[in-house]
Symmetry: C2
Amino acid sequence: MAPEEPGSTPSAPAPDGPSPARATPPTLLDLSTYLLSRTGKAARSRLAERLARRGLRLWDMAVLAALADFGPHAQRDLVRRLGVDASDMAKVADQLALAGYVERARDAADRRRLSVTVTEAGRALLAELRAEALAVQDEVLAPLSGTERRVLHELLARIHAELPGTP
Amino acid sequence: MAPEEPGSTPSAPAPDGPSPARATPPTLLDLSTYLLSRTGKAARSRLAERLARRGLRLWDMAVLAALADFGPHAQRDLVRRLGVDASDMAKVADQLALAGYVERARDAADRRRLSVTVTEAGRALLAELRAEALAVQDEVLAPLSGTERRVLHELLARIHAELPGTP
DNA sequence: CGAAATTGTGGGTCTGAACCCACTATAGGC
DNA sequence: GCCTATAGTGGGTTCAGACCCACAATTTCG
């Protein structure tokens, strides 16, 4: 299991890297679980940070995307599609409506329902957010070639498709 | 931009999937950022949940791995290597020592330093945790073949290597 | 009609992660 | 010997995410 390596005693300047003893344990690097978790976290936090600068959260983007892709939803359908808590969705929708990115209207057929629709401003915002996400992607995937990025995307898509959403 | 699709009105039973209107917005699925974030989160939370059943956190595993891979560390070196807050590391080390997975001893040369060493119990635990991580990996990467998993691992490793740790 | 279920909302809690400061003990420069 | 820097610790705060309950308005079922 090769447990013996100096590292703590800097007597032998191991050819590991520039800084001393900063390397991640191989036991962790061997785990795809670990790499996936780490890179995923990097991607998420970078995007979240960019959205935060606009006063937005990741859920805001998800809601806009759902509305732009699939058309108007009742709030409960957004809840089902995105797997958020209904109460949290109410808050997100409220914020987005206040900022003018979506419009809410009582459904005439069932007046309990609130039908949510993207506005033009919402679509424009979504386009910008998409650009931000692509920028982050470019940062994170910097070491990969175009082909490699496509391969990665395809593999991740297959994994994602099989993940239990909230069934 | 193909914004028009029924989805909300279940008049047309689109051949999307079994459950109605549960599909993730393509705008999100197109982003490798999103897929990376989602799959990474799935991996991390699954592993975290397994560790929690043993009363452990992810950091415990990271510390054990560092000690097993690189030998004894002063606490401050663990802090540097893993990028944790010194105060938090103190707590983790304390827990691990209490449970008998590591031993702490004052460094004779510099009596401010606490030298942390894995015990046999610690190594045994790490082996079990590694097995748990591999089990999670098998769950998450289920849709991929062996070759594909190797490709994915290699791509992720390259990405991870270029991520700014905390320099 | 009356009872039961559903939709949206407001106001919480609980958890983990990350961070920060004050303090003690020790070391090292001068 | 003094003065500054460093190692570890204890006791916090802050923040986001997920969750949960009680409630009003409304629909639907018996």
